[in-house]
C-alpha cells in the first residue's frame, strides 16, 4: 500500500514539470512584443525599451526564463498581474473561495440527486421511469452550460423573479470575510446580530442558480454511471446469495449492492472536478460570480499574461493532485486493493 502511494506521488513529479513547461510555452507563443505592448509609445526609446525588457526578465535566454518561472512557481510566486499590479497568487486566492464554494455546492447537488436517481433507474430497469431518467441525463450533458445558465436566469430571475440575476450577495449587506465562504460567513454571530438571517438567505438565493447550472452535467454523468455500475453489480453472484439468505429487497440493494456499485463512482466524482472548473469559467461569466473563472476570462480578454500563465498552471496542478487523491481514495475504498 505504501509502495502504491509513493509510486503515485513519484509519478506526479514529471507530470507537474510537464504542466509547468506547457503553461510556460503556451504563453511564450504570444504574437507581438509584450514589451512594446506595455510601453506603447515610450518604447520607441531604445534605453527605456532595454530597461523594461530587463525588468520583465525577457532579456535572458528562453530556457533561463523557464527555470526562473518554474523555481518561482515552486516557491509560490507566479508573477504580478499587469492590470492590477498585485501578485498573481494573491489575486488568485482572493477569488478562489468563491469558486470553491460554488463548485462544492454544485458537486453536492449532483451527487445527492444523481446517485439515488441512478440507483432507482437500475432497480426499475427498462421501465418508463428508467427511460425517462436516462433520456433526461442525455439531455443534461448535451446542453451547452452557458445557455442553460441563461435559460435558468430567464425562467427564475426574469420571469418568476424568485432569484437574483447575478452576483454573489446583495449589495445591502457587507460581510466580513472570514472563511471566504458566504454560507458560513453569513452565519457568524456578528452578522446575525446586525441583520439576522437575511444575509444567509441572500447568499443562498444567489448561489442556487449557478450551482444548478454548474451541477447539471456532473449530475447527468453521475446518474448514468451509477445506473450502469448498479446494473453490473445486481447481476453478480453475491446478490443471488443475499436473496437466498432471505434478505429484504431493500437490504440487498442498499447494503450489498450499493457498497460495491459506489466504488467506481468515487473515481467519477474525482474526475468531475475538471468538469466543475470548466463549468466555473462559463458559469461565472454568466452569473457575474466573483471567482477565478470570471477573472481568468477577463484577464484573457485583457491580455494579462502573467495571470493567464499563473492561473492555468495553478488549475492544472490542482487537477493533477486531485486525480492522485482520487486514485488513493479508490485504493482505500476497494477492499481488493488493500493489504
Amino acid at each position: 500500500m505504501l509502495r502504491f502511494i509513493l509510486g503515485k506521488l513519484g509519478d506526479l513529479v514529471p507530470t507537474l514539470i510537464g504542466i509547468s513547461i506547457l503553461s510556460f510555452v503556451l504563453v511564450r507563443f504570444v504574437p507581438g512584443d509584450p514589451v512594446m505592448l506595455l510601453l506603447g509609445e515610450r518604447g520607441a526609446d531604445p534605453a527605456v525599451y532595454a530597461q523594461m525588457k530587463k525588468d520583465m526578465g525577457l532579456d535572458l535566454p528562453v530556457w533561463r526564463q523557464y527555470i526562473n518561472f518554474a523555481t518561482d512557481a515552486a516557491q509560490g510566486d507566479l508573477g504580478t498581474s499587469i492590470i492590477s499590479k498585485r501578485p498573481v497568487v494573491k489575486e488568485f486566492f482572493d477569488r478562489f473561495p468563491a469558486t470553491l464554494e460554488l463548485g462544492v455546492v454544485a458537486l453536492l447537488f449532483a451527487i445527492i440527486i444523481g446517485i439515488p436517481l441512478g440507483i432507482i433507474a437500475a432497480v426499475k430497469r427498462n421501465s418508463f421511469y428508467d427511460y425517462f431518467l436516462m433520456g433526461g441525463s442525455l439531455l443534461g450533458y448535451s446542453m451547452p452550460i452557458f445557455w442553460w445558465g441563461l435559460v435558468l436566469i430567464l425562467i427564475f430571475s426574469v420571469q418568476l423573479g424568485w432569484t437574483p440575476v447575478s452576483g454573489r450577495m446583495s449589495v445591502m449587506f457587507y460581510i466580513e470575510p472570514w472563511t471566504g465562504f458566504m454560507l458560513i460567513d453569513t452565519l457568524t454571530s456578528e452578522v446575525r446580530e446586525l441583520d439576522g438571517l437575511a444575509p444567509f438567505w441572500s447568499a443562498l438565493s444567489h448561489l442556487i442558480l449557478p450551482a444548478v447550472a454548474m451541477g447539471t452535467i456532473p449530475l447527468a454523468v453521475i446518474a448514468r454511471m451509477t445506473r450502469s455500475s448498479m446494473l453490473e453489480v445486481l447481476g453478480e453472484d453475491y446478490i443471488r446469495t443475499a436473496k437466498a439468505k432471505g434478505l429484504s429487497r431493500y437490504r440487498t440493494v442498499a447494503v450489498h449492492a450499493l457498497r460495491n456499485a459506489l466504488i467506481p463512482i468515487v473515481t467519477i466524482v474525482g474526475l468531475m472536478f475538471g468538469s466543475i472548473i470548466t463549468g466555473a469559467i462559463l458559469t461565472e461569466t454568466i452569473f457575474s460570480w466573483p471567482g477565478i473563472g470570471r477573472w481568468l476570462v477577463a484577464s484573457i480578454n485583457a491580455r494579462d499574461y502573467p495571470v493567464i500563465q499563473g492561473g492555468v498552471l495553478f488549475i492544472a496542478t490542482m487537477i493533477v493532485i486531485i486525480n492522485v487523491l482520487v486514485d488513493l481514495a479508490y485504493a482505500v475504498v476497494n477492499p481488493k486493493m488493500r493489504g
Binding site: G18, M143, P144, I300
Partner: protein, 300 residues
C-alpha cells in the same frame, strides 16, 4: 390441387452481411435512430444553407429591429423566428450557423482523429519508452480542463474560427489517442500480427494495414461523440468572444450577443441554444446507439 407444405430445413444460422446485422442491432434503439435523423437534418441544412435561408444572415434591416418570432403577438411570417437587435433575420442566421457548426465539428474531428490515431498507434504498437513518452504528454494535456486549454491556446493565437478549431482539436486528441492505443495493444498480441511479421511485413505496414481495421469500432463511436464535444467547445469559445467573431452567425457567438437582451427579447437567447442542444443531442444519441450496436457485435 395439392399443396405440398414444405418446411425448409432449419440450417444453422447463416450470418448476414455485416451491415445488415449491424442494422438489426441498431434499429430497435429508437433513440439512436432519432439521433441519426437529427444529424442528417442538420447536415442537409448545413449544406443547403444559402438556398434555405430566406435572408442574408449579415443583412442589417433598420426597420425590423428585435421583432419577436411567429408565436408571439407581434410576430410576422416574414421573420418566422424574429430578428435580432440590429435587424438581422434569426432564422437565416441559425441556418447559416448550422453550416458553421457542422463545418467546425467536422474539421475538429478530422484533425483530432488523425493526430490521435498517429499517436495512439505508435504508443500502442511500440510500447516501452515511446509509449511512456506519448502517454505522459497525453496526461499533461488531459490535466487541463478542455475549455481552459482551448481558451489559453486561442488567447495566445488570437481569436477566430480557424484558431478555435485548432484549439478544440488539440483538446480532443487525448481521447482518440487513448482509444487507439488500447485497441492496438489488445490486437498487437494476437496471432495474425506475429504471422505478418514472419512474412517480413514492415512495422508500418502491420500497423496501418492489419491492426488498424480491427480498431475501427470504438474509434467510430468516439468520432461521433467527438463531433458533439467539438460543437459544444467551439460554441463555448464563440460565447466567450474567442471563437467565431461577430457578425459571423455562429450559435455561441449569437448567444453572447444576445445576453444584454435577455429580458426584452428572450427568443434571441433561447433559439441559438436550442440549435446547439439538438445538434449535440443528435450526435450523442447516435454515438450511444453506435456503441451499443457495435459492442455485442464485437463480442461475438
Amino acid at each position: 390441387m395439392s399443396e405440398v407444405a414444405m418446411t425448409p430445413i432449419q440450417d444453422e444460422h447463416v450470418p448476414d452481411s455485416f451491415l445488415r446485422e449491424f442494422w438489426n442491432h441498431f434499429k430497435p434503439n429508437k433513440g439512436a435512430v432519432v439521433g441519426l435523423a437529427l444529424i442528417i437534418a442538420f447536415v442537409i441544412i448545413a449544406i443547403l444553407a444559402p438556398l434555405l435561408a430566406p435572408y442574408d444572415p449579415t443583412l442589417l434591416q433598420d426597420n425590423a429591429l428585435r421583432l419577436p418570432p411567429i408565436w408571439a403577438e407581434a410576430g410576422t411570417w416574414s421573420y418566422p423566428l424574429g430578428t435580432d437587435d440590429v435587424g438581422r433575420d434569426i432564422l437565416s442566421r441559425l441556418i447559416h450557423g448550422a453550416r458553421i457548426s457542422m463545418g467546425i465539428g467536422f474539421a475538429v474531428v478530422i484533425l483530432s482523429l488523425s493526430m490521435g490515431l498517429f499517436l495512439g498507434i505508435f504508443a500502442g504498437y511500440y510500447g516501452g519508452k515511446v509509449d511512456r513518452l506519448i502517454m505522459r504528454f497525453i496526461d499533461i494535456v488531459m490535466a487541463f480542463p478542455s475549455i481552459l486549454l482551448a481558451i489559453t491556446v486561442v488567447s495566445v493565437m488570437g481569436p477566430g474560427i480557424s484558431n478555435a478549431i485548432i484549439a478544440v482539436a488539440i483538446v480532443a486528441v487525448p481521447n482518440f489517442t487513448r482509444i487507439v492505443r488500447a485497441s492496438v495493444m489488445a490486437e498487437r498480441k494476437k496471432q495474425y500480427v506475429m504471422a505478418s511479421k514472419t512474412f517480413g511485413a514492415s512495422d508500418l505496414r502491420i500497423m496501418f494495414n492489419e491492426i488498424l481495421p480491427n480498431c475501427l469500432a470504438p474509434l467510430i463511436v468516439q468520432a461521433t461523440l467527438g463531433f458533439s464535444d467539438g460543437i459544444l467547445n467551439a460554441a463555448a469559445l464563440g460565447f466567450l468572444g474567442l471563437g467565431a467573431q461577430p457578425p459571423t452567425p455562429e450559435w455561441g457567438t449569437m448567444l453572447a450577443d444576445s445576453r444584454p437582451f435577455i429580458e426584452s427579447s428572450p427568443w434571441m437567447v433561447t433559439l441559438p441554444g436550442l440549435c446547439i442542444l439538438f445538434s449535440v443531442l443528435g450526435f450523442n444519441l447516435f454515438g450511444d446507439g453506435l456503441r451499443d450496436a457495435l459492442d455485442p457485435r464485437l463480442k461475438k
